[in-house]
Symmetry: C2
Subunit: 529 residues, 2 copies
Amino acid sequence: MSIKDFTPSRRQLLSAIGTTAGSAAAMQAMAVLGHAAESRFTGPPQLTGTRKGASVLVLGAGLAGLVAAYELNKAGYKVRLIEYQGRPGGRNWSLRGGDTHVEVGGAVQKVEFAPGNYLNPGPWRIPHHHKTLLHYCRLFNVALQPFIQMNHNAYVHQTDAFGGKPMRYKEVATDFKGHVSELMAKAINQGSLDDKVSKEDKERLLEAMRSWGVLDKDMAYTSSLKVSAQRGYDLPPGGGVGGAPTPSAVASLSDMLDSKVWNQMGFYFNYVMQTTMFQPVGGMDMVGKAFAREVDHLITYNAKVTKIAQNAKGVTVTCEDMATGAVSEAKADYCVCAIPASVLSQIEMQAGDKMLASLKAVNYSASVKTGLEFKRRFWEEDEAIYGGHSFTNQPISLISYPNYNFFKDGPAVLLGSNAGGLGGSLLGGMEPAARIEAILAQGEIIHPQYRQEFMSGVSVAWGRVPWNMGGFSRWSDEARKDHYANMIAMDGRIVLAGEHASYIGGWMEGALTSAIDAITRLHKRTQEA
Amino acid sequence: MSIKDFTPSRRQLLSAIGTTAGSAAAMQAMAVLGHAAESRFTGPPQLTGTRKGASVLVLGAGLAGLVAAYELNKAGYKVRLIEYQGRPGGRNWSLRGGDTHVEVGGAVQKVEFAPGNYLNPGPWRIPHHHKTLLHYCRLFNVALQPFIQMNHNAYVHQTDAFGGKPMRYKEVATDFKGHVSELMAKAINQGSLDDKVSKEDKERLLEAMRSWGVLDKDMAYTSSLKVSAQRGYDLPPGGGVGGAPTPSAVASLSDMLDSKVWNQMGFYFNYVMQTTMFQPVGGMDMVGKAFAREVDHLITYNAKVTKIAQNAKGVTVTCEDMATGAVSEAKADYCVCAIPASVLSQIEMQAGDKMLASLKAVNYSASVKTGLEFKRRFWEEDEAIYGGHSFTNQPISLISYPNYNFFKDGPAVLLGSNAGGLGGSLLGGMEPAARIEAILAQGEIIHPQYRQEFMSGVSVAWGRVPWNMGGFSRWSDEARKDHYANMIAMDGRIVLAGEHASYIGGWMEGALTSAIDAITRLHKRTQEA
């Protein structure tokens, strides 16, 4: 190791960069060094030369509709944004004390959370590489704070592993790599991989296994203080007299396999789940509200779209006022339709068969997200869990801990379920009260404090959300192949936008990038017309 | 998967808990469920029945001395705290614009950081299980914010790997588990582990390898969109037209091994490094300042201890006023000496040979920590790195990104070096200006923007810090065996405290737990006397 120990050619390159000016040179250097782009985002759309008086109707004030309205308005279009609900944001949504949530079927939940506490029923975390969203958060002064994703101290729970006892992630993940590395070292040492790995790489692999797996001098994974310095101690180190720690016992290979901890290890490696993630301070709906501050004068709330018609001259959208029932028509040159496919497929729209078919081709998740308020932050106080998720194979799927007001006294809200698939169907099929009872029964397996500390809960079953009829889009590979191009292609004077019209399904970034692409194409069309 | 799919015996147990009251029952339940304690901390010391008029001299206003003074004063002792420097906290320290740092040898550095920016030259992160420290932060209203430890998007750099090109952690770590799992699957499939693993576990291991390694249908680790959904894409997914992503190329086994990424993978698994970690809002010295607010009236600043004497009746400490040179004596019944062993070993102290020998038996690190201020947060803006560390085998060892003011415009300070071992010696041996130049030269290998954006820096070489003469204690196993008990044993009327007198060396928690143990024993002694 020496301070001169770097490659001369790189040094020359970097020195040359130092003589040129500005961040563009640095970015160019990054490209020279071969770093892939983290995002396609290179700045907001540049829509210039807008034809005077050109008008656009935007349908749906979710993030796709909001960004379309904002950028089209900025570019000089005459814009009107029509929204079914009485608030902006769509699935960009937070529920707070005093709010009411009514499900399909009529079940009413009144949220009773203490001031400052909230549930984000829809999107709840922002990846560091979702640069379009981050751009608008910065532009509109939406304060962000870290969303703790990975937590070594949260639980991994499988009903049939470790006698049903929840284990700390650090315990089972350390045991996973310990056992895998021990077996790998054995295979290497008995020559099993001689025809696949060079002699030199074998030596390096053994060193990697020893280090990564924390193996002992015999290349075995055994209980020790070194291993406990990863998986936790029986008695942690202390100060003064009796400060010496005692090691914890490692789990057997077979017990470790019961935990299926590789699912969590893989989860944390998922590109969209990787650290560092963020959330808006005060609730996810700060994003939608920030957009709405910019375009509020363009929005008609509480207007249900019942028909979308078009001809060679323009678009006519029929709306019903949700309060009065009054029917009205809105007209414009073009339409950006950012209504979810799950809802739009049920609205009469004058468009080609291909576009209409595409709306029915995409599936929607039916996830169930539930906020539970407790008297105190027992997960922090009793169990040293600050943010992150505990995973379980029960229908609730996980318990996720709040990333705001750490260490504070008083009531706090955690996410008691994020159920998808069969679990989502099971829980979503229940009435809210029964659903919350089931969610408590599952959660107390992980946190025995649940019943003692529970105050109230609110549960959003996305399959029962009247204005969305599902959670987020889930394209099968086959449907994507047959229908995606038809969905996004401009049909006459109508173009669709939303997370369903992107390859970033289920994420706000998908809604924004889809809408920006749609309006960029629409703008180009108006230039050609 | 069913909502009734849990173990009845546990259910009965938990149901029984639900009928008893309060958090104590829940904690007891946790113990029944077999969760190891995350910390030994069960609350602050309970020192009752203090003998009227009993007095204690505490030496050193680092965290050990501060907590000793606070708790002894609270318990009714007459306390005086003597500190060499003009500020409280010791190594709990932050450097800000306007501060001056003078090294042994006389080199002076004037800090030029913009308001609000700082370097924490000493401790800089708080593990979630350091409950003693967290207790006092909460008690004294020290606001904490997350310290981002793990960052999948930061760099892993080895001068002799990938042609010297820094790689993203996600890239090489994904490749590591891909190649390891592929080789493991091969070894399993050719029967190499048949005598070590049951047939059932073999099947489960194969499933684990396929999932964890993201192997293809032939159990090979190859470039694909699935793999790119962990290691990153060549072209990430987007919205609308052309939204489909393209995969990145995976590295070969041999190239991956060059990166030695298992060092970082192990680092993140280290018990004291595991998520979730915290830092005080505004700088680490908020902790020392908070303690000082409580005991400020007890502190004599700028007083150099030159002699510590004791007899059957009490302790006499000789001090020199750093401003006037005036010599004075302080007397008390007992002494808690929280001066670092590196300094105390050079002070005349009337104590047994065993205690004196113990002070020379413990080594100190000579790490070099450097704050660099840049015109803008290019690591965020250009590279989507928010907090966390990039690692390198150059002497600087790492670059660590600030965990406050994310997304903000204007100057920001990152940690440009955390050099230990040989790297610390190399950099610590240079004068500050040359040291910062070397640190920039190493850092620009990872961030080509360095020279363009650099404003100023300040570097703390702990081997040259006059009041500490080293960074933090590093006990060898042998020295610990021979000397630790002698160090912590009360010697007449003197008891030592500090991170060196703990098994949590180098951490504030070690200082606090050591001091609490020391005063608890001292208190007991006074009860017996």
